[in-house]
C-alpha cells in the first residue's frame, strides 16, 4: 500500500558483469571503491569499539584505579567542584567521589545494557526462529502477540513491569528483556522466512535432515551477521532505556553507584554544582555513542549495500538507463 512508485523497470539491472573490453578497468574501480568504504566503516567501528572497550576496561579495573571508595561519604565535602583537591571530578550530594562512582557505575551500566540484549536475543531469537520456521497459524498467533507488545511504547511497559516487581536491578533487567523480545523476534523471524526459500535450505530438507538440524545448523548461522548488528544497536538503546528507568528510581537502589540514579540524585545540587547531575549523563551519552558507532560500523562492513546503492544507481543512469530493451539483440 505504498504510494511511492516503484523504480522504473530495469533500473535495477546494473551493467555489472559485462564481458569484453569494458570489464577490466571497472573491476578495478569497484574493488578500490569497496576498500575505501571498508576503511570508512572500519573507522566508525574502531572508534565505537574503542569507547566500548575502554568502558569495559574501566569497569573491570574500577577497584584498582578508582581513587576513593565509591560509597565513602564525607559530610564536610558536599558538592565539591571539578578539579577539587583529591577529587578530580568533585563530590556528589552526600560527599562521595564522583570519579570513583562513575568508574564503578560503568559496571552497572554495562550489565543493564548487555545482559538484557543477550537474554532478549536468546528468548526472542528462539521464538523468531521457531515462528518463522514453522509458519502457518503458530506464526500468525505469535506475530499478533508481538503486535500487541509493539502497541505499547517500550519504556511504559518496562516501567509498569519495574513498578510491579518492585525496584531492583533484577526487575529492571527483566523489564528491558520483556520489551525487547519482540524486536529480536521480528528481526529473526523475517530473516528466517526469507532464508527458508534459499536453495541450500530446501536441499537440506530434501536430504531428509531433521527440523532441529536444519533450523540450527543451516538457518541460524546465516542469521548471525544481521543479528549481531541489531544486537549492538539495541545495546546502545538499552544503555539509554536502562538509564531512564534508573533515573525514575526503578534500577539499582542507592547507594549502589549507577549513572542514571546518580543523575537523579545530583538534581538536588543543580543550582550550585550542575556537574554532579550532568557528568553521569555525559557518561551515558558516551557509552551510547560507542555502541551506536560500533553497530553502524559493523553494519557498513557487513552490508556494503547501504553505502553502495547511490553510486551504483548513478552508474546506471549515466549508462542511459538500461531502461529500454536492447535494440538489435
Amino acid at each position: 500500500m505504498k504510494a511511492t512508485a516503484a523504480a522504473p523497470p530495469g533500473a535495477a539491472g546494473p551493467p555489472a558483469a559485462r564481458p569484453g573490453p569494458g570489464s577490466r578497468p571497472r573491476t578495478r574501480t569497484r574493488t578500490r571503491g569497496r576498500l575505501a568504504r571498508l576503511s570508512a566503516g572500519n573507522a566508525t567501528a574502531y572508534l565505537g569499539g574503542g569507547i566500548v572497550a575502554a568502558t569495559v576496561l574501566v569497569a573491570l579495573l574500577a577497584p584498582l584505579i578508582a581513587p576513593h571508595d565509591p560509597l565513602d561519604t564525607d559530610p564536610a565535602a558536599i558538592g565539591l567542584g571539578l578539579f577539587s583537591d583529591g577529587h578530580l571530578l568533585g563530590t556528589d550530594e552526600v560527599g562521595r567521589d564522583i570519579l570513583s562512582r562513575l568508574m564503578y557505575g560503568a559496571r552497572m551500566a554495562l550489565l543493564v545494557a548487555i545482559l538484557p540484549t543477550l537474554l532478549a536475543l536468546a528468548v526472542g531469537g528462539c521464538i523468531g526462529l521457531f515462528s518463522g520456521y514453522v509458519g502457518g497459524w503458530v506464526d500468525s498467533v505469535l506475530m499478533r502477540i508481538f503486535d500487541v507488545m509493539f502497541s505499547f511504547p517500550g519504556i511504559l511497559l518496562a516501567l509498569g513491569i519495574g513498578v510491579a516487581l518492585g525496584p531492583s536491578t533484577t526487575s529492571l533487567i527483566v523489564a528491558v528483556v520483556v520489551v525487547t523480545i519482540p524486536e529480536f523476534g521480528r528481526i529473526v523471524r523475517g530473516n528466517v522466512v526469507s532464508l527458508r526459500q534459499e536453495q541450500y535450505v530446501e536441499a537440506a530438507s530434501a536430504l531428509g535432515y531433521g527440523h532441529g538440524r536444519i533450523a540450527f545448523r543451516h538457518i541460524a548461522p546465516n542469521l548471525l551477521g544481521g543479528v549481531v548488528v541489531f544486537a549492538t544497536l539495541q545495546t546502545g538503546r538499552n544503555v539509554i532505556l536502562s538509564a531512564s528507568l534508573a533515573f525514575l528510581g526503578l534500577g539499582a537502589q542507592p547507594p549502589t553507584p549507577d549513572w542514571g540514579q546518580m543523575l537523579s540524585g545530583g538534581r538536588a545540587l543543580l543550582v550550585t554544582s550542575p556537574h554532579v547531575a550532568t557528568l553521569p549523563g555525559l557518561a551515558v551519552v558516551v557509552l551510547a555513542v560507542g555502541f551506536n558507532l560500533l553497530g553502524d560500523g559493523v553494519r557498513d562492513r557487513l552490508d556494503p549495500r547501504s553505502r553502495r546503492s547511490r553510486a551504483a544507481k548513478k552508474d546506471d543512469r549515466a549508462a542511459d538507463g538500461g531502461k529500454t530493451g536492447d535494440a538489435a539483440c
Binding site: 504510494a3 511504547p153 511497559l157 516501567l159 510491579a164 533515573f247 550532568t278 551519552v285 547511490r310
Partner: protein, 315 residues
C-alpha cells in the same frame, strides 16, 4: 475510504484488548501478597482482608479480568493509593497538559525533521548531509532527561532567560507565560524524534527525487522548490508519516521523563510519583491511557497514509 477506516477500526479491537490484558497483568505479577504490597507491611490484617475483598483478590484471575474490563468500560480505573482519589480523576485533569506538551513537540519535530531531511537530501554526500548523519547519531545517543537537565543549567540557571520548571509562574501569567515554560520541555521531548524523522525523510526523499515524474515536472519548467513540495514530498510522505506516527506515540510515553525533569503537571509526572509510592492502580491507569492513545495515533497514521495514496483513497 470509509470502508478502509471502518476495517482499520475493527482491527484495533484485539490490540486494545491485548493492552487491557497487559495492564491487568501488571497487577498480577506483584510478588507476594498483593494487599500487603499495596498497603505496606505495617497495615493491619483487617485492612488487608478488606482490600482483598474490595479488589476481589480471592476470585480466579479470569473472572477478575472481566470485572476489570467491565470497570474500564464504565470509566472506572480504580482508586489511586497515593492521591486517595479515583485514578480517572487524577489522570483526566492532567491529560490536557500532557497532550499540549507532546502535541507541540511532535509538530515541532515533524516540521523541522521533514524540512531538515529534505534539505539534506538535496545534496547527498555534501557537508550538510554528513552533518545530518552525525547529528542524528548524536541526538539518538542522548537520554532526554539529561538533555533536559543541560538545557535547564544553560538557559535557566546560567543565562536566566527561560523558566526551568512548572507550567506557569507562581505569580501567574497568560498564554505567553505558559509558552515560555514550554520551550525547554518541548525541545527536550522533540529532539530524539526530530532526529529520527529527519533521517527517515532524507532516505524517503532520496528514493523519490530521481523518479521519472520528478524529471517530468522539471522538464516542464517547474521551479525546484515547487518540484520538491508538490511532486517529491507527497510521494515520500507514506514512510515519513509512519515514522511521525510512531514517534508521536514514543513522545507520549517520553513525557514520563521530560515531565519529571521539568515538573510539568501532566500524566507523566503523576506516573513518576506513582512509581515512588508504588501506586499500582495509578501506574496501570497511566499506562493504559497512554497505550490507548498510542493505538489511536497508529490508526490515524494509517488513515493519513491512505489519504496520501489515491489508490486507497478512491477505493
Amino acid at each position: 475510504m470509509l470502508t478502509f477506516i471502518l476495517r482499520r477500526g475493527l482491527q484495533m479491537i484485539p490490540v486494545l484488548l491485548g493492552v487491557t490484558v497487559a495492564t491487568f497483568g501488571l497487577g498480577q505479577i506483584i510478588p507476594g501478597d498483593q494487599a500487603t504490597a499495596l498497603l505496606g507491611p505495617t497495615s493491619s490484617e483487617e485492612d488487608r482482608a478488606a482490600l482483598r475483598a474490595d479488589l476481589g483478590l480471592d476470585e480466579p484471575a479470569v473472572s477478575r479480568y472481566f470485572t476489570y474490563l467491565g470497570n474500564l468500560f464504565s470509566g472506572d480505573l480504580g482508586r489511586s493509593l497515593s492521591f486517595g482519589r479515583p485514578v480517572s480523576e487524577v489522570l483526566s485533569e492532567r491529560l490536557l497538559n500532557t497532550l499540549l506538551l507532546s502535541g507541540t513537540a511532535i509538530v515541532v519535530a515533524a516540521v523541522l525533521g521533514v524540512a531538515i531531511g529534505t534539505w539534506a537530501a538535496q545534496k547527498p554526500g555534501s557537508v550538510r548531509d554528513r552533518g545530518l548523519t552525525v547529528g542524528v547519531l548524536f541526538l539518538n545517543s542522548v537520554p532526554s532527561f539529561w538533555l533536559g537537565l543541560v538545557l535547564i543549567v544553560v538557559f535557566s540557571l546560567q543565562l536566566r532567560i527561560l523558566p526551568a520548571t512548572g507550567m506557569t509562574s507562581i505569580a501567574g501569567g497568560g498564554a505567553l507565560d505558559t509558552a515560555a515554560h514550554m520551550v525547554l520541555p518541548v525541545i527536550t521531548l522533540a529532539a530524539w524524534s526530530l532526529a529520527v524523522i529527519a533521517r527517515m525523510t532524507r532516505s524517503a526523499v532520496l528514493e523519490v527525487i530521481d523518479n521519472d515524474y520528478v524529471q517530468t515536472a522539471r522538464s516542464r519548467g517547474i521551479g525546484e522548490f515547487h518540484v520538491v513540495v508538490r511532486h517529491v514530498l507527497p510521494n515520500a510522505m507514506p514512510s515519513v508519516v509512519t515514522v511521525i506516527g510512531l514517534q508521536a506515540g514514543f513522545l507520549l510515553s517520553g513525557t514520563v521523563l521530560t515531565e519529571t525533569v521539568f515538573s510539568w503537571p501532566g500524566v507523566g509526572l503523576a506516573l513518576q510519583q506513582a512509581i515512588s509510592s508504588r501506586d499500582i492502580p495509578l501506574v496501570q491507569g497511566g499506562i493504559l491511557v497512554i497505550a490507548v492513545a498510542f493505538v489511536l495515533i497508529n490508526m490515524l497514521v494509517d488513515v493519513a497514509q491512505a489519504y496520501f495514496n489515491p489508490k486507497i483513497k478512491l477505493a
